[in-house]
Amino acid sequence: MVKEIERTGLPVVHICTVTPISLTVGANRIVPAIAIPHPLGDPAASHEEEERLRRSIVEKALKALSTEVDGQVVFTG
């Protein structure tokens, strides 16, 4: 699905757990998620901490969207 959206002309960042599937699905911009049941959250953390964590992941996603890539890149920084 990721590739088809990008094919229509939109840059896409894929927030997902890094597995062979996510790598072979082939999104060009990937940001590792926290875990499958809660990719952008951590139920064990406090609400403020969880929101701070979510924000850091979305910031990485926005950074990925504004970075030129020439192939598949996983943004961890």
Binding site: C16, S22, G41, V58, L65
Partner: protein, 350 residues
């Protein structure tokens, strides 16, 4: 040796009712009757199997009333309870192929009765159902009927008797992505030499193990200024408004949802839930922002970090969904977002 009992599903054309003009012919059940290609099957079955009834349904009728027609067919098949159901062959007829796939998969999954169908490899029904039911590879038109029945009949008898099914290239069905061992006539090294000679001279050859599909898409240029960009959210994590109004299936989703979040600052447990059947839903149901970060993006929109959070988000369930369907969803969602002037997409998946 008890004869194998078979029910046969065909469309209005092969039941000689009519062509496209009769495509909305309602589903009909003919107990004890053999129609159209069923006669060809009967010849090849000899005294090993017999068609004990035929189900006829117009292709449009089936596809426009998918669920209730399938339920009616399943109910009829359950009553007759044959050893096997054959659907088609559908060759390259798209809606007929999808109907055959749905009937065969439905009978197999809901009644545990083995089913078989056949169609041309490019029929849309193939991608949707090849990993659920045995689909014999046929030519692209009814001219290939004799050859199709010749392939389907022995496979039908094997299924009816519960015999082991060989590899796809031995039995003539389309590969289901399940690796099955068998003995070739020549040893591997000889096959490798012949394959290399074919590849060197530009002749066609068939690889024995197709590499997983890596069709690469070139990356789109980066967003110049995120603070002026419209960002849209898409997820395969199945986040839907409470009650799942569009009935997105918990696995093998057949469609996606488009929902408006104008004025929505965060996804609450009262307003949203997950329809995804492939992971523990508690955390997503408690706070759907953990899958679709609407709360953070709204804040960023207010702070001017991003230009705008697009007012619509798109959602489906990425659990066992056929590759072809996922591709179709992506293309349609992308088209709508481009149409709405969206600049970039954040896609989350579980």
């Amino acid at each position: 040796m008890k004869k194998i009992t078979v029910l046969h599903y065909i469309n209005q054309f092969f039941a000689q009712i009519g062509g496209e003009e009769q495509a909305d012919h309602p589903v009909e059940f003919f107990e004890g009757e053999v129609k159209g290609p069923g006669l060809a099957f009967m010849q090849l079955f000899g005294d090993e199997a017999e068609i004990v009834g035929t189900i006829v349904c117009g292709d449009s009728y089936f596809n426009e009333r998918h669920d209730e027609t399938l339920d009616a067919i399943i109910e009829f098949v359950d009553r007759i309870h044959p050893d096997l159901v054959i659907a088609g062959p559908a060759f390259n007829a798209g809606r007929y192929g999808v109907a055959c796939g749905a009937v065969a998969a439905g009978v197999q999954e809901r009644l545990g009765i083995p089913a078989l169908t056949g169609m041309y490899v490019e029929n849309p029904g193939v991608d949707l159902y090849k990993d659920k039911v045995l689909i014999v590879s046929t030519k692209n038109s009814a001219a290939g009927m004799r050859a199709a029945v010749k392939l389907m009949a022995p496979l039908a008898l094997k299924l009816g008797r519960g015999d082991a099914i060989g590899a796809s290239c031995e039995e003539g069905y389309i590969s289901q992505g399940v690796r099955v061992n068998f003995f070739e006539k020549q040893r591997g090294s000889k096959r490798a030499v012949d394959m290399l000679l074919a590849k060197l001279s530009g002749k066609p050859f068939t690889t024995e193990y197709p590499m997983p599909d890596f069709d690469r898409v070139d990356p789109q240029p980066a967003v110049k200024d995120v603070s002026k960009a419209t960002i849209a959210l898409v997820t395969s994590g199945g986040i839907v408004p409470k009650g799942n109004p569009d009935f997105i299936e918990s696995s093998s989703a057949s469609h996606f949802g488009e929902y408006d979040i104008t004025g929505v600052d965060e996804l609450t447990s009262e307003g949203y839930e997950t329809a995804h059947g492939g992971y523990d839903p508690t955390y997503a149901n408690q706070d759907a922002d953990r899958v679709l970060p609407v709360d953070v993006l709204r804040q960023m929109e207010r702070e001017g970090v991003i230009g705008k959070l697009h007012n619509k988000f798109y959602t489906t369930v990425g659990n066992g969904t056929a590759v072809a369907s996922a591709k179709a969803f992506g293309a349609e969602i992308g088209k709508r977002l481009v149409g709405d002037g969206v600049d970039a997409v954040i896609l989350t998946s579980t």
